[in-house]
């Protein structure tokens, strides 16, 4: 009985981790946003009630930012149910996660906490701790003004504790304040009546003032260009070209420092002609980015084959455009660097990764057999798991392969699935014996392939728990933890 319960627990945890890595609550090819959110909410609730300590520990397992925020939110909401020891670990994990989360996500979380009226002592302490340790509070106070103000109020924070001056006047007494000594505050104050000051503000804030001053979009983009972040600059390139903001367009995106998956998404968003034109530049950038991710592991993985899904379902949805294809492309370049001998197998049969398009059927079975034929050390399958030509062929091929053709298991097979299947409440598996893990960014691929050994469903909870606890311990000792 103990064993069954153990195995169920291990499966539950894995299922949740996979889902929390892959799902972003956005629309997918097969399911809409509501279904995704509903399924994820159910999984969160289930984990929280049944395996609270493991639930908190999943924060160290690379779950995506949205789900990390959801975990933190739930933990803070239900602090009463946790023991003192649990609360101590949770507090440190939360502080650690918040420090690594993108700033906008954190403010979003604080706003959600405020709206949900979660205002226990621990929550206030965590918010205070995070706000006091910000490197540039003045900038954030301007950029995220209402969320910042809400968080300060919600945490009962003394504004003077913040390391920036004039905060009190900026947040709560603008009318009476007069001029500010802090330059950004002063620009913000002047932007209310002075068009020139608008361009000294961060882009998102300036956008609102530009509307107020009726500044033309083209002029606005031209002049705000120095304030843009890298992501904003990239995002605005095409619309700038459309409305004729030549200055911004001429300022070609710097591809050399972009992360691998982001770069792959950028490449696939270009038209086929442009990809052809810039083939050398794009390939070099992708390779360099992959090499940066591979680091010391480059060329250590032996013979690797990869089955990469470029079927029509890899086109994602209007909210996650081509996401599965993006992950497959990034994985292709990363595996190329990691392996000594690498064989990519696209489902469409194409051999030009830069020109991939999401088209055609998912006939995984035959492609997997093509990959296994040369008996590589590792076969990686990047696919959403909707094997449909015919249904279940991949499962059968893998089963027969394991039973008859490779009983010693010399070839390891790992399935990475970028899509959470809301109806099935899990990332879709290829076969019961093949490890399947969710993937969000291709950068996590090495860790996920290592983690995949747990995902066969054959390892017990004890082993998994040991792994997770080791992760937690390592994570918490990386730097001096914040006291909560």
């Amino acid at each position: 009985m103990e064993l069954v319960a153990d195995r169920t627990a291990a499966e539950d945890v894995l299922l949740f981790v996979n889902a929390a890595i892959a799902s972003t609550g956005q629309r997918e090819f097969h399911s809409d946003a509501d279904a995704q959110q509903w399924s994820m909410e159910f999984l969160h609730e289930y984990m929280l009630v049944n395996y609270r300590d493991l639930y908190a520990a999943t924060l160290t397992l690379g779950v995506n930012d949205r789900n990390a925020a959801a975990i933190i939110m739930r933990l803070l909401q239900t602090g009463r149910d946790a023991s003192v020891a649990q609360r101590a670990v949770e507090g440190r994990l939360i502080a650690k996660s918040l420090a690594e989360m993108p700033t906008n996500r954190v403010y979003h979380l604080f706003t959600a906490l405020r709206k949900a009226r979660v205002n226990n002592r621990r929550t206030r302490a965590i918010i205070r701790e995070w706000l006091v340790n910000r490197p540039d509070p003045a900038f954030e106070a301007v950029k995220y003004r209402s969320a910042f103000q809400g968080a300060v109020r919600h945490a009962h924070l003394k504004v003077d504790d913040l390391p920036a001056g004039e905060m009190d006047a900026f947040l709560f007494g603008r009318q009476a304040a007069g001029r500010f000594a802090t330059p950004l505050f002063e620009s913000w104050r002047r932007a209310h009546f002075d068009r020139r000051a608008v361009f000294e503000l961060p882009y998102t804030v300036a956008e609102g003032f530009a509307t107020k001053h009726r500044i033309k979009r083209a002029d606005f983009l031209e002049q705000i260009a120095p304030q843009l972040t890298r992501g904003e600059r990239l995002r605005l390139q095409r619309s700038a070209a459309r409305i004729g903001a030549a200055h911004l367009v001429a300022d070609v995106a710097d591809l050399s420092r972009m992360p691998l998956t982001r770069l792959a998404a950028y490449v696939l968003a270009l038209t086929v002609e442009e990809r052809e034109e810039r083939r050398l530049e794009l390939t070099d950038a992708l390779r360099a980015a992959a090499l940066r991710v591979a680091g010391l592991r480059a060329g250590t993985w032996g013979r690797v084959a990869a089955v990469l899904d470029d079927s029509f379902s890899a086109s994602g949805s209007s909210e996650k455009r081509r996401r599965p294809l993006v992950v497959a492309l990034a994985a292709h370049f990363l595996l190329r660097e990691l392996a000594t001998d690498y064989r990519p197998l696209w489902l469409s049969g194409g051999d030009d990764p830069l020109m991939v398009r999401a088209r055609g059927v998912t006939s995984l079975g035959e492609r997997i057999l093509d990959g296994l034929e040369t008996r590589p050390d590792l076969l990686v399958v990047v696919s959403d798991g909707w094997d449909n030509a015919p249904v279940g062929m991949a499962a059968e091929v893998l089963r027969v392969w394991e039973e008859r053709l490779d009983p010693e298991g010399r070839t390891a097979v790992a399935h990475l699935n970028p899509v959470f299947d809301a109806a099935g409440l899990e990332v879709r598996r290829l076969s019961p014996t093949t490890p399947t893990v969710g993937i969000r960014d291709a950068e996590d691929l090495p860790e996920l392939v290592a983690f995949a050994r747990f995902a066969t469903g054959r390892t017990g909870l004890a082993e998994l728990r040991a792994h997770i606890e080791a992760r937690v311990a390592r994570r918490l000792t990386e730097e001096t933890p914040c006291s909560t």
Partner: protein
């Protein structure tokens, strides 16, 4: 009396979404000398008459060449001379041969062509003809647009089109609802989304609403006989063939095994447009539709509509009448019933107005007395 065949078309594994199963048909070699376009209106401005805004709900255009060379894809050719209809008031086209025809929209085709295939009464009764003009046609079951068939829109959206796919068989709750075949893969790609605008019978709509998910037809390989990779490949091929045989022999049997009456309607060089209807045998699937066949027997275009039971019954009745030259006594004799019973059937089928009122009343009364 002929059969429909899928010569030159191969069945590929179907894709299931909820209660809908879509089975793709892939052509070995696409037909290039006949093409279909979703709509060709805008390319044909006629002299003196330039349509500014045309609405052709789901009407297709078939285009072919005289000498068997490839038809250019829509939008890539120079503007072709316009079509003219015989006896039309529009000016005649200068082109000697016409290379384009416009299909009537699906819905209109259903309403107009099904009655046409049955011979009209050979004797022209004046009273009947005036009445036929004055009184609207008998109430028919309303065809349902694909939008209203539960799950069809989603199933079409997520369907992954095969390389070289030229057709699809659409099953609702594993009952064959429609079959579509196009000459060229590009045509299919263009027409695939329009399937949701097609009309479906009440039967199909009901099935879609009432039945749950249909099972995936999962493959199973026998592991015990596989020792090498070549064996495994052979097993995969065998599994594929097994599905094809099962599908063509069992699932599509209702469409492929039935006898059809073909009526040739239009000749376009090597291609013949035909309409077909089944023999209306009780207890069988009844599919009617249009097909274009090449002179070598290949199926270039096919579009079918599945009649519901009530429609099939009506078809049976009309057929019996047409075969007996609309003679009530003879028809009743071939059907093995008495005349009042036949009149009652005509009445319930909505064709009561074909009989004179007093005769109808007399027969109905006799029928009531007889059944009592």
């Amino acid at each position: 009396m002929q059969h429909l065949t899928f010569d030159g078309l191969q069945t590929r594994p179907g894709q299931v979404w909820g209660g809908i199963r879509l089975v793709p048909l892939v052509r070995d070699e696409p037909i290039t000398s006949l093409r279909l376009h979703p709509n060709g209106f805008s390319e044909e401005p006629a002299r003196g008459y330039e349509p500014r805004c045309c609405y052709s709900p789901h009407g297709l255009v078939a285009e072919w060449t005289d000498d068997g060379t490839a038809v250019p894809a829509l939008g890539t050719a120079l503007c072709m001379p316009a079509k003219t209809v015989r006896k039309s008031l529009r000016p005649k086209t200068k082109l000697e041969r016409r290379t384009r025809v416009h299909f009537v929209p699906h819905q209109t085709a259903l309403e107009a062509f099904i009655p046409l295939t049955f011979k009209r009464p050979a004797i022209a009764w004046k009273a009947w003809s005036t009445r036929a003009f004055r009184v609207p046609p008998p109430a028919q079951e309303r065809p349902y647009a694909g939008y209203h068939v539960e799950g069809l829109a989603d199933a079409l959206r997520i369907f992954e089109i095969h390389h070289g796919q030229c057709g699809v068989l659409l099953y609702v709750a594993d009952a064959l609802a429609a079959a579509v075949v196009t000459p060229h893969p590009d045509d299919y790609r263009a027409l695939h989304p329009t399937l949701v605008e097609d009309a479906f019978g009440e039967l199909i709509w009901r099935y879609a609403n009432l039945h749950g998910d249909v099972p995936d037809s999962r493959v199973h390989l026998d592991a015990s006989s596989i020792d090498t990779i070549a064996d495994l490949r052979a097993a995969i091929d065998a599994a594929r063939r097994e599905w094809t045989d099962f599908h063509d022999g069992v699932m599509a049997a209702g469409l492929l095994d039935a006898d059809y009456v073909f009526t040739a309607e239009y000749q376009m060089e090597r291609y013949t447009l035909q309409r077909f209807r089944p023999r209306f045998e009780p207890g069988r699937e009844t599919h009617v539709g249009e097909a274009i066949t090449a002179d070598d027997g290949r199926l270039a275009y096919l579009r079918t509509f599945r009649l519901s039971e009530a429609q099939a019954r009506r078809g049976r009745l009309l057929q019996a009448l047409a075969e007996n030259d609309w003679n009530l006594e003879a028809t009743a004799a071939t059907m093995g019933i008495v005349v009042p019973a036949l009149a009652a059937r005509l009445h319930t089928a909505g064709y009561g107005h074909l009989l004179r009122d007093d005769h109808l009343a007399h027969h109905l009364a006799a029928n009531r007395k007889g059944t009592r």
